[in-house]
């Protein structure tokens, strides 16, 4: 029995080493490499409306981050169609940069100090923050008005934590009610089961309609940046340049407006 266990463990180790051991070749000119390949490989979200979302009729991914990536491709090739999108999730976006499958990732990637040690991030192209939505009829106009009221948040999101910190700072207390999905939160707000509905602003904005308003306060800002493999400064500089140019020409704002993010 012991022998068998040992054999199994050994086999597993050998297999994984064989599978994972690939030479990581660091090229001198990353841009030349991309040019030789003929296409910019980008990791994007496929299920986040406004940022990266698959059009269910055409099968194409659309959104702000898609347009941004196309602008980078245009900068490299002079042709914005020379970009190949691969759907990524929070679990796959980092590793796929490391393995070299993707050149860059534009997928609602929040820049944090810890992540900066593993990948290089471009300048921030969008700041998302937790915001609070209330019914206009309720008469709340600022965060402080919510003292003692119930706020609906999504299960297992960090929203609650940021709100708690914000409430402590404002000297008020809040009650929380957790729901699994955003649509349910909106329904609960409409039916009066909760007094306010709180998630990231970009998501909240998707639920805006005439009877609602978003309070001016923002909490726990999340900075979105484009990630590249650690040490790929050539591509990073090019991405930063592209964002600078878009910002200077006003195109970045136009893109944000186009996708309902501003």
């Amino acid at each position: 029995m012991k022998k068998r266990l040992f054999a199994v463990a050994l086999f597993l180790l050998v297999c994984s080493v064989a599978l994972f051991a690939q030479g990581a070749s660091e090229g001198s000119d990353e841009i030349a490499k991309i040019k030789a390949k003929g296409v910019l490989s980008v990791g994007c979200k496929v299920d986040v409306p406004s940022f990266g979302y698959k059009n269910i009729n055409t099968g194409e991914v659309e959104g702000f981050e898609i347009d941004l990536s196309k602008a980078v491709a245009k900068k490299i090739f002079g042709d914005e169609t020379k970009v190949e999108f691969t759907g990524v999730t929070a679990k796959t976006r980092g590793p796929l940069l490391d393995t070299g499958e993707l050149d860059m990732v534009a997928a609602t990637f929040t820049v944090t100090e810890e992540r900066k040690q593993s990948w290089d991030f471009s300048q921030i192209y969008y700041v998302d923050a937790v915001a609070v939505m209330v019914k206009k009829a309720s008469g709340f106009t600022s965060f402080k008005d919510l003292d003692g009221r119930t706020v609906g948040v999504a299960q297992s999101a960090t929203t609650k934590k940021s709100l708690e910190a914000g409430a402590a700072e404002a000297g008020i207390t809040l009650k929380y009610s957790e729901f699994a999905t955003y649509p349910e939160l909106k329904v609960a707000l409409d039916s009066g089961r909760i007094d306010a509905f709180s998630v990231d602003f970009a998501i909240l904005n998707g639920y805006m309609e005439d009877s609602c308003m978003i309070l001016p306060e923002r909490f726990a800002p999340q900075d979105y940046g484009i990630a590249v493999k650690k040490g790929n400064t050539a591509l990073l500089d090019l991405v930063n340049e592209t964002i600078d140019e878009l910002r200077a020409s006003g195109e970045l704002d136009a893109m944000l407006v186009k996708w309902g993010l501003k």
């Binding site: 994984s16 690939q22 299960q155 699994a180």
Partner: protein, 219 residues
């Protein structure tokens, strides 16, 4: 992919894995207990001869066996709050896993009960034993021997399937390993260690199942 610093980093944060491992064990034990109850009740419904109970069990088994666990777990996670039942991912995991595994366990119980010669059931009833008494005193003790190996295999499946909780932020081994790996960019070692931890739970059970099977085949 396998550099020394990666292993150092992994072992310095090994507590993350242990906490996840503990949750996996906890969920599995709770879900397993529930699974046994469900399997027994539903399996006996099938053998009870009562048409309504039997049809209900058949419907339950057919549906839960033939839809993905992922769909079931997502359903519970998203639909129950709508009915004002807010469960933690841990509880959703327990219920989801046991309802899914119970559908397979019930089939094991049914087959095991049917493997006991029918004459014994008749003999017991002719002696004035009720259905439940016949089952618990005469049929089930014999069926146990037949049911134990496949049930152990179901337990292994349950432990493996508990990794699905990673998709609903369940805080178990798979989830913690994944999120630790994506923050630290240490993948290779993480996957190997996670695999070994699951192996350490499941392999002894699998081997026990095989031994039991051999025993029942050659008594």
């Amino acid at each position: 992919m396998f550099k020394i610093w990666m292993w150092e980093r992994l072992f310095s944060d090994f507590g993350v894995f242990l906490r996840g491992f503990a949750v996996t064990v906890g969920v599995s034990v709770c879900a397993l207990a529930l699974t046994l109850v469900i399997s027994l009740v539903v399996g006996l419904f099938r053998c009870s001869g009562n048409r309504a109970l039997s049809a209900f069990s058949r419907g339950y088994m057919s549906f839960f066996q033939n839809t993905p666990l992922v769909v079931q777990i997502f359903f519970f996670y998203n639909v129950l709050p709508r009915l004002n039942v807010i469960l933690s991912p841990f509880a959703v995991g327990c219920f989801g896993l046991s309802l899914y595994t119970g559908a397979f366990g019930a089939a094991v119980v049914e087959a095991a009960v049917n493997a006991v010669p029918h004459g014994q059931l008749e003999a017991a009833t002719s002696q004035g034993f009720g259905f439940l008494r016949t089952m618990f005193h005469i049929v089930l003790p014999q069926a146990m021997k037949v049911a134990l190996p496949p049930m152990t295999n179901q337990a292994v499946n349950l432990i493996k399937n508990s990794s699905v909780l990673a998709m609903i932020a369940g805080g178990e081994l798979m989830y913690r390993a994944d999120s630790w790996a994506s923050d630290s960019a240490v993948y290779g070692p993480t996957f190997v260690v996670t695999g070994l931890l699951y192996l350490s739970l499941c392999l002894p059970l699998s081997m026990a199942a095989r031994k039991l099977e051999k025993k029942t085949r050659h008594p």
